[in-house]
């Protein structure tokens, strides 16, 4: 049904709390949904849903190296944003804000 709507799929790693969980989930998602796009979510704080930015950067680097196009769910921290871009991301998804592309 969704396929008939003609929209792009963006699977996510919701509920993942470790690099291993997120990377494994991303690989499964790529097989199931036949897309290399992945919204990378690595939760560090269960109540606030704040991302674990340290693991996020590590997972983004691994997945970018594995050929994924990563959409990281991150905080507003500019340095973390720069680290994610260095890790291969071209899009940032700061919590509570609309997505931001590298270069504006």
């Amino acid at each position: 049904m969704i396929r008939e709507l003609g929209v792009m799929a963006l699977p996510n790693t919701a509920g993942c709390h470790t690099v291993k969980e997120a990377v494994t989930t991303a690989h499964m998602a790529r097989e199931v949904f036949d897309t290399s796009w992945i919204k990378l979510e690595l939760i560090g704080h269960t109540d606030s849903l704040q991302p674990d930015v340290f693991q996020l950067v590590e997972a983004a680097r691994i997945l970018s190296g594995d050929g994924f196009q990563v959409f990281p769910y991150t905080t507003e921290d500019l340095v973390v944003g720069e680290r994610l871009l260095d890790a291969g991301c071209e899009v940032l998804m700061p919590w509570g804000r609309r997505s931001v592309r590298a270069g504006g």
């Binding site: 049904m1 929209v7 792009m8 996510n12 969980e21 997120a22 196009q69």
Partner: protein, 57 residues
Amino acid sequence: MMRSFYGTRLPNPLMLGTAQYPSPAILEQAFRASGAGLRRYRCAGKGRMARGRRSGR
């Protein structure tokens, strides 16, 4: 408002989730009414996901 992500141009960058709609029909209506260009899918992780905890969006 055309946007490009990783070289793919989308006529509408609006993303909608696909979870917790009351029915598939309402999900379809939401997508058609919004004109969303992206759909998000939650892929179950281990551990806390299995215990039904919330996840980030």
